[in-house]
Symmetry: C2
Subunit: 338 residues, 2 copies
């Protein structure tokens, strides 16, 4: 495949999420309790569906960013826990609505909520979680944090609409693609990191550094996600390969491959992604083309570029355990096997 | 029909929305400009779809409540305009998601957004409008108003899930039904009225009075809405009759009629609403049964009960033009032809 992604690499503490996980472990236990508490409702379906999402084994990277940023800034209160839970609820609400929009049946190898409880429930429980997220932010009472997170909420939705409109369009440029992931993924990473500095009362320059760290980490993370969807390594982890291909999603690997390809190859992408006519051997053929044009390895290169920006964004902070963990999270994001 | 609903009545200023409309006319022009401005986006689909909703000719009762409450409390700033626009965006987002959940094709006699642009766009533009609503609230900077409106957002979604779970269930009691409309309709009316008092810095007792006014007006409004759906008067206004019947919605007229009916009549409701087997003459039969059991006129009676509570809630305020307009809005809501 030409993709530098190895399972053994993830065990190297330099490219591991472990230091970040260890750093926020105690805070994260509070976040998890708050998440369960705020997903409660007398309307049975809500906690039932929420529990499905909470147990789905996501990495919880976004709330970890809020917690780590707060620690980096020496924050001593408990508002970071509520903001982190709010960030995770915003993310969960987006996933619920995304699966409805994309008609996805599987997420992280498990049946999606919309398949189990229907599109209707997914739309409405997403709305409920978004409402609860805002309630938690209001509880914190920081108008600065509220502004950043409500801006992110609008931008994320805008990015999703943008993605819907460019869906299956093989003419998508790298810039178009970047605009979409900047809005639908990087905006929440960015806001999640920034609010940690805001509640700590740090100067604008440090808030801006955290915002830039989050944004570029988010871009790198999404790029790698899109490359991994076509990676053989995924299969060894019991994850499905080619979900994006089957859903006709135009991600950077495809953008690069389409633009670099021959007329005949472009017809292949047109037929499979635009027209949705996918035969038994087409995923294999797609993977051959991606390899031929180094589309996956170049997508990873792009990810490393944004990772480098994220790294430099943190340079103004003095060395510390949180900073080290946040830097390793970048290395993990650009070099992860899952 | 036995329903006291007359077109001529609406022209009587005692039962007219006209005084309220006149009271807030100038503010409402600002709200409308703000709504257009905040529905802007570089993603073309968003303003296009938003414009469809904005032009759809709703009464804009909810934002008018915020404006009128602020006036009643002698508020002099301009925050009420932004909160009113936020309230309308929250309502619009709910309508977008509702139509997806209910698979509705028509709203106020026009094609729904989901029919014109698809469910996906409706879900995502709803999310965008909700994000913009929160941004406007944050702009105002009143944590009190933010708390009230974010609470309402979570409660509305909870009410929608509740409705989804009780849908087509003919065993629904009047209490079950009230719990649903309390959450899905009255919560926003209540919050819309209350925040007008909050930004005016009025004491808790007056905020509570406005909250109670809004809530009970909302209950009355929804009850009348549910009765009107079966009213012949609707047809004369070019509106469709029996939408709720065709969608299998269990509203109070049906709850009363089902419980008061014979075993044979209950089978009729089971077949039509629960099983969804609706023949050509079934709407006519439903209307006959509703008349036989005085279900529409008794639904209107219930509405008058909540209207009376709303009226008493305002009693603590001295006489004024805003108060008079807000009282007349109650009379309109319980006695309106549309």
């Amino acid at each position: 495949m030409g993709v530098v992604v190895s399972l053994s690499g993830a065990r190297d503490p330099q490219v591991s999420l472990a230091p970040l996980v260890a750093l926020v472990q105690e805070d994260m236990a509070h976040v998890n309790r708050l998440i369960l508490d705020r997903a409660r409702s007398n309307v049975e379906l809500i906690p039932e569906l929420a529990r499905h999402l909470i147990d789905s084994g996501g990495k919880r990277l976004r709330p970890m960013l809020t917690l780590a940023s707060a620690r980096l800034c020496g924050y001593e209160g408990d508002a970071h826990v509520r903001l982190a839970a709010a960030v995770e609820f915003m993310h969960t609400a987006t996933l619920l609505h995304d699966d409805v929009v994309d008609e996805s049946n599987l997420r992280r190898g498990r049946k999606t909520a919309r398949l189990l409880w229907g599109n209707e429930a997914s739309v409405l429980v997403g709305d409920f979680l978004l409402g609860q997220a805002f309630k938690m932010m209001v509880d914190v009472g920081s108008l600065g944090a509220l502004r950043i997170l409500s801006d992110a909420a609008a931008i994320i939705a805008e990015g999703e609409v943008m993605q819907l409109m460019t869906a299956k369009n093989t003419d998508t440029t790298e810039d178009d693609y970047l605009a979409v992931i900047d809005a639908k993924t990087a905006a929440l990473f960015s806001a999640a990191a920034e609010v940690g500095g805001v509640i700590a009362g740090k100067p604008k320059s440090e808030q801006a550094a955290l915002r830039s760290y989050g944004r570029n980490l988010g871009l790198a993370f999404q790029l790698v996600d899109d490359a991994l969807d076509y990676s053989g390594e995924q299969a060894t982890l019991g994850k499905s390969v080619g979900d994006d291909f089957r859903e006709g999603k135009i991600t950077l690997p495809v953008v690069l491959c389409y633009r670099r390809g021959s007329a005949e190859e472009r017809s292949f992408w047109q037929r499979t992604l635009h027209d949705g006519e996918i035969g038994e051997h087409d995923l294999g053929e797609a993977m051959n083309l991606l390899k031929k044009h180094s589309a996956l390895s170049d997508t990873m290169e792009r990810a490393r570029h944004y990772g480098a920006i994220a790294r430099d964004a943190l340079a103004i902070f003095p060395e510390s355990k949180p900073k080290s963990a946040m830097l390793k999270a970048i290395a993990f994001s650009v070099d992860r096997p899952y």
